[in-house]
């Protein structure tokens, strides 16, 4: 935030500035009617933090639905609280470290307002199931939707406008955020009840009983994959190659390399085209956009948000020392989107960029 970078030259000035800032914040708070404790505080916090993915009324979107009676009947406040604190590392659902306890409780209060049912309370004791037996049951009845070892379905939530395998993608059961938040008793209650309005059946439809639920729970407890995307924070933000050719020749080479890899060239433009007056553009900086539809669809199905970095783009820059060819480093994206399903795709995109640039500058 700005405040951190303000150089403090004069003490008095600093105090006035801060005071003014505090006053402004307070006035804004008053005007915007933030009252975290009040009944509307939760609604507003929900709209600010959750609605973008879960929908204004909890109907789902990029995230799964939160307003289903069967979900609210089995989800304890403790589960919701921990889920908001820890999120689902590597699974889009963020951790809300910025929200205080009061805010989190207010949001939970708002979610509860969607159902007349009281919140269930569970004890945290482990259930005495047989994980080996549970594993067999899981393989028979659950793998089809939740994936091998509870990895989850690929894709997000219920965004119906995109092609997906199920109307609601199955959450990852091996996610450390889920495992940390859910109690054995809540798991069991979820299995016995199922979730109407989603593909999740009650295990009773498979002829399974309470004892089988215990075994399934015992097996689910053995799943705890570390799904955090590998720490990419040290990765260079750009991929860069130097070209020994002229700008024009490098551009030609680049186009050849792009087409040679079955990509279609979408557009070639100056960096400041549309900003600088026509004819006054900086001709030393050129962007080449290209795409491959299979690639694009694949990526959007995993996470509709990656379109922010599409279509593919390589930039050419003429400097005093020669011509540089560069792109963003796609390996940063899975972390940016908190989605480890993107790892494979980002690696592929990284290698493709590097190969094309290498070809063009060789």
């Amino acid at each position: 935030m700005h405040i951190k970078d303000v150089r403090i030259t004069c003490h008095a000035e600093w105090i006035t500035m801060n005071l003014r800032a505090v006053l402004m914040v307070i006035v804004t708070l008053l005007l915007s009617g933030v009252s975290v404790a009040g009944p509307n505080g939760g609604a507003m916090l929900y709209r600010q933090n959750c609605a973008v993915c879960h929908g204004d009324n909890g109907g789902g979107g990029v995230g799964i639905p939160l307003n289903l009676p069967d979900f609210l009947a089995v989800a304890s406040d403790d589960y919701l609280r921990k889920t908001l604190r820890i999120g689902r590392p590597g699974r889009i659902m963020p951790a809300f470290a910025n929200l205080g306890d009061t805010e989190i409780d207010a949001i939970i209060g708002h979610i509860r307002s969607w159902s007349p049912q009281a919140a269930p309370v569970y004890n945290s004791d482990p259930l005495p199931g047989n994980p080996e037996r549970g594993k067999t049951l899981y393989a028979r009845h659950c793998t089809g939707c939740h994936g091998d070892e509870g990895r989850g379905g690929i894709g997000t939530g219920v965004t119906f406008s995109r092609p997906r395998e199920a109307p609601v993608e199955a959450p990852a059961l091996d996610n450390p955020g889920f495992q940390e938040s859910v109690s054995d008793a809540m798991l069991k209650a979820s299995l016995l009840r199922g979730r109407e309005g989603t593909p999740m059946p009650s295990i009773k439809v498979f002829g399974l009983k309470e004892k089988d639920a215990d075994d399934l729970v015992a097996y689910l407890r053995t799943l705890n994959r570390d799904v955090l995307p590998e720490d990419n924070s040290g990765l260079e933000p750009v991929i860069l190659y130097e070209s020994a050719y002229s700008l024009k020749q490098t551009l030609e080479n680049l186009k050849q390399a792009v087409i040679g890899r079955n990509f279609r060239i979408i557009r070639e433009q100056y960096l400041d085209q549309g900003l600088a007056p026509e004819g006054k553009e900086d001709t030393r900086r050129i962007i080449l956009y290209f795409c491959n539809f299979a690639f694009l669809n694949d990526a959007l199905a995993i996470d509709p948000r990656v379109g922010l970095f599409l279509p593919c783009r390589i930039t050419l820059v003429k400097t005093e020392h020669g011509v540089q060819v560069m792109s963003i480093n796609p390996k940063n994206l899975s972390r940016l989107f908190n989605n480890s399903d993107l790892d494979r795709y980002c690696q592929q995109m990284h290698d493709m960029y590097a190969e094309i640039m290498e070809d063009a500058t060789l």
């Binding site: 405040i3 970078d5 801060n18 800032a21 505090v22 914040v25 307070i26 804004t28 708070l29 933030v34 600010q48 609605a51 993915c53 929908g55 204004d56 979107g61 990029v62 963020p94 910025n98 205080g100 805010e103 965004t159 119906f160 406008s161 995109r162 092609p163 260079e236 933000p237 750009v238 860069l240 979408i266 557009r267 960096l271 400041d272 549309g274 900003l275 600088a276 007056p277 900086d282 900086r285 956009y289 539809f293 694009l296 669809n297 959007l300 509709p304 948000r305 379109g307 922010l308 599409l310 783009r313 930039t315 820059v317 560069m326 792109s327 963003i328 940063n332 972390r335 940016l336 989107f337």
Partner: protein
């Protein structure tokens, strides 16, 4: 003092800071949200340089919507000055916001500069990132509340 301020401001700011992304949902259908976005960019003093389709061929591939665009915007002088001083940033410029339909509502999304900050510790760029981030949040917030 500063921490309190930051905490208060995060409370006030309705634009979601989900990890390193800024995301908002507009209750407007796509065409209206798109025009609200372009107006909002204008209000911030920036100019839209291009609206890029990301969706060519999407409906053919089974998608129910082809409403997916990336809106690029900037200022010619600022863009030239920054890319003269820091050519490494060029792949991230001009600034952009993606916008796509979700049923009859619209989602908007932009990236923060958090992942770039560690690489460019100089105060000039950090300040530039601050400015861009706050501008982008303002732009998105105006679209979120637009009716």
């Amino acid at each position: 003092m500063k921490n309190i301020l930051v905490a208060l401001m995060m409370l006030v700011s309705p634009v979601l800071l989900a990890q390193d992304l800024f995301m908002v949902r507009s209750q407007l259908p796509f065409p209206e949200a798109m025009s609200a976005l372009q107006q909002s960019i204008g209000k911030s003093g920036y100019k839209v340089s291009r609206v890029q389709r990301v969706d060519i061929g999407l409906t053919k591939s089974g998608y129910k919507t082809d409403k997916y665009r990336v809106v690029f915007f900037g200022d010619a002088d600022e863009l030239r000055a920054v890319s003269d001083r820091h050519p490494e940033l060029i792949p991230y410029l001009p600034l952009k916001i993606s916008i796509f339909a979700e049923n009859d509502e619209t989602l908007l999304l932009a990236s923060s500069f958090k992942h770039l900050r560690p690489f460019y510790p100089g105060p000039d760029l950090q300040l530039q990132f601050d400015r861009w981030e706050s501008t982008i949040r303002d732009i998105l917030e105006r679209v979120r509340v637009a009716e």
